[in-house]
């Protein structure tokens, strides 16, 4: 697991870089045309974006493509970003929308050679554990994706995107209490779905 990032990704980096440390200056520098600042922003955030997308779609190659697409959209939308929310929160929203757009797109022809499930690139990880985790994760992922829209976004943003309840509440423009109620409801539904699948 040495090369596997855990969520929230920023937990590991939080000690070194506070979430909003220098974020405003970074944004100002990007708006001023500083390419190095833009690259720094990518460095800071792309892993988390990729991870959240990877959890959403369970396909790392696809997640990488969606991550790239997310940033392309982010550059275009940067002038409209007012900086009131965290940069990653804003990016996660774009990533989630990108994922939804991908899911809603007409199905493209997929090669039979391509694996459907998560295929960790870490060859050194114990294969049994990886497979077990992988199977459990996939069932959970499918269940999460079957949740209603609002519950699905809340769960994925909080657990897979690493956003705090307050940040999810800001995105959804509702109270934190409402988010917690959503989470509770989502857990109930997930449990029911997982149990149903086991039976």
């Amino acid at each position: 697991m040495a090369k596997v990032a855990h969520f929230p990704v920023r937990l590991a980096e939080a000690e070194e870089k506070p979430p909003r440390a220098g974020e405003r200056q970074l944004l100002e520098a990007i708006r001023a045309g500083d390419r190095a600042a833009a690259e720094e922003m990518v460095e800071r955030t792309y892993s988390a974006v990729f991870a959240s997308l990877c959890r959403l779609c369970s396909d790392c190659d696809l997640a990488a493509d969606l991550t790239q697409e997310t940033y392309q959209k982010a550059w275009a939308a940067l002038p409209k970003f007012d900086g009131r929310s965290q940069l990653f929160t804003w990016l996660y929203r774009i990533a989630y929308t990108t994922f939804l757009n991908h899911v809603r797109r007409p199905r493209r022809t997929r090669s039979l050679d391509e694996p459907d499930s998560v295929e960790p690139r870490d060859d050194s990880a114990p294969i049994d554990q990886v497979l077990a985790d992988s199977e459990e994760s996939e069932r959970l992922r499918v269940a999460v994706l079957r949740l209603p829209d609002d519950l699905r976004f809340t769960v994925t943003a909080h657990f897979w995107g690493g956003l705090a309840v307050r940040e999810v509440a800001e995105i959804e423009k509702i109270t934190t209490v409402a988010i917690r109620k959503r989470l509770h409801k989502a857990f109930t539904m997930l449990e029911a779905m997982m149990d149903e699948e086991v039976r």
Binding site: M1, F7, Y46, A64, P79, P120, R121, V130, F187
Partner: protein
């Protein structure tokens, strides 16, 4: 859901391992960073776009405000913009060409000033240079009229005499004397405007032109060119003679003068030439300044001569003019209809003084106009005093508000039974005038009785010139004819 299961689910969701991103992903993303990242341009562009929109909005507001102020400034002091001259030309009285109306207002104002000036100055004196009229210039520029040409010599002045001041305010009746032959000079300037006005005048049906204000006809007035060249030989503004009839009631203002001169010269008027309606309207005169657009006055009483039918008077007064009218009067109402319903259950018979019908209409009612219709009523005996004898309804559309107005008055039996001496002075004068006219026709009671009652009226208010005039004329006619024939042919 138990806390344990919930915690387990949270754990699964939270700590699920996620593979690291591909090594080249950061490079791919960085390669997509656009070359021009500066968002200042976009923000400035957005700001400038907003600013542009605001400027456009401000410009529109400015234009609207300017147009409003312009119209207000170009309007005459009483706020009228529509003139009577524009109305009949369009036949349906729709101000489709507001600019033309404005120009007409100014042309008429110019004609009025010129007429005033011309009556005061010596004919042999060449006209003094007129002061510049910026409003007219502005309109000329707006309409892209050609520049004024030098004034032709000896252009005939416009004639628009004012009515002689009357001693009685209550009996004031504006009178516009038609100008003497004033052929328009050859239009040397402003050909487009002149052509347009010519066309409008020619296009309007003759009937529409005549009936626009109760028979008033369109007439061209030659405007003396301004020596300063502001308005050169402009085709006349359209002016009107005094209306000769309203609601099919003759209101010829010259009728009384004609008859008076005849009786004073001891000439007996031809009975069929006597216009009783015109006499009624002459003596009824104009009402006091009305705050309404149109006022309806209905009054009934016994006849001034005993054993004659009761008299019902219906008078319509339009709003008075703020200044003495000369060449133009603004409209007060359009599409006016007057309907007098006589209840046959209460009335044994009726007779309209003069001619005409109980229902009549006018397409346009100008300000400063008055018309009186008299009807003789013979009510059935033993009628309840509260019984309705007649109902008078006047409908019109106000030019000021654009709304349709309905004025309705009910005439009861007790109104008709009221003594003549208790009636208003206007009513008494109008009915006496009718009696005098009918005596001249030989269809009514003696002129002596009329003269006596007119003398009584005059003595009540010595300042009332009309009562004095009527007393004098009735006395003269009674002497001329001796005892007039009695009885009525109707």
């Amino acid at each position: 859901m138990t806390q344990k299961k919930k915690a387990e689910l949270q754990r699964k969701l939270s700590i699920a391992p996620v593979p690291r991103p591909p090594d080249d992903l950061a490079g791919r993303i960085k390669a997509d960073i656009p070359e021009f990242l500066r968002t200042d341009h976009d923000r400035k562009r957005f700001s400038s776009s907003v600013a542009f929109s605001l400027r456009v909005a401000a410009s529109i507001l400015l234009v609207i405000t300017s147009a409003f102020l312009g119209i207000r400034l170009l309007s005459s002091p009483d706020g009228r913009l529509i003139t009577e001259s524009a109305a009949p030309a369009s036949a349906a009285f729709e101000m489709k060409d507001e600019q033309a109306a404005e120009v007409t207002v100014m042309i008429e104002e110019s004609a009025k000033k010129e007429a005033d000036a011309s009556t005061l100055r010596d004919v042999s004196t060449p006209p003094a240079p007129a002061p510049a009229l910026p409003r007219q210039l502005a309109v000329r520029e707006r309409l892209a009229l050609p520049p004024p040409t030098p004034a032709p010599p000896a252009a005939p002045p416009a004639r628009a005499e004012m009515a002689e001041p009357e001693s009685s305010v209550a009996a004031y009746r504006p009178r516009v004397v038609p100008p003497v032959a004033a052929p328009p000079p050859p239009a040397a300037a402003a050909p487009q405007l002149a052509a347009d006005l010519d066309k409008a005048s020619a296009d309007a049906p003759a009937e529409a032109r005549r009936s626009a204000i109760g028979g008033a006809s369109l007439r061209e007035v030659a405007v003396t060119p301004k020596s300063a060249g502001i308005l050169n030989t402009v085709h006349a503004g359209l002016s009107y003679e005094a209306p000769r009839a309203l609601f099919d009631v003759s209101i010829d203002p010259d009728e009384f003068d004609r008859l008076r001169k005849m009786v004073e010269s001891k000439t007996t008027p031809e009975p069929q030439s006597v216009n009783v309606e015109a006499l009624v309207n002459h003596f009824a005169g104009a009402g006091l300044a009305s705050r309404q657009d149109v006022a309806l006055e209905v009054e009934a009483s016994l006849a001034p001569i005993p054993d004659s039918p009761a008299m019902l008077r219906v008078t319509i007064d339009t709003a008075s003019l703020p200044e003495e009218p000369a060449g133009s009067r603004p409209p007060a109402a359009t599409d006016a209809t007057l309907e007098i319903e006589i209840r046959d259950t209460a009335v044994a018979g009726y007779s309209i003084v003069g001619s005409g019908e109980l229902k009549a209409g006018e397409r346009i009612l100008l300000k400063g106009a008055s018309v009186t219709r008299l009807i003789e009523l013979t009510v059935k005996p033993g009628l309840e005093r509260s019984r309705e004898v007649a109902r008078v309804t006047l409908r019109y559309r106000s030019v000021r508000t654009g709304r349709e107005v309905v004025l309705s008055r009910s005439v009861l039996a007790r109104d008709v039974a009221g003594p003549w001496t208790a009636a208003t002075r206007r009513h008494r004068l109008a009915t006496l005038g009718a009696m005098w006219g009918e005596s001249l026709q030989g269809t009514a009671s003696s002129g002596e009785e009329v003269a006596r009652k007119a003398a009584n009226l005059s003595s009540e208010e010595p300042e009332d010139a009309r009562a004095r005039e009527l007393a004098a004329a009735a006395t003269a006619s009674s002497r001329l004819r001796g005892a007039g024939p009695t009885g009525s042919a109707r």
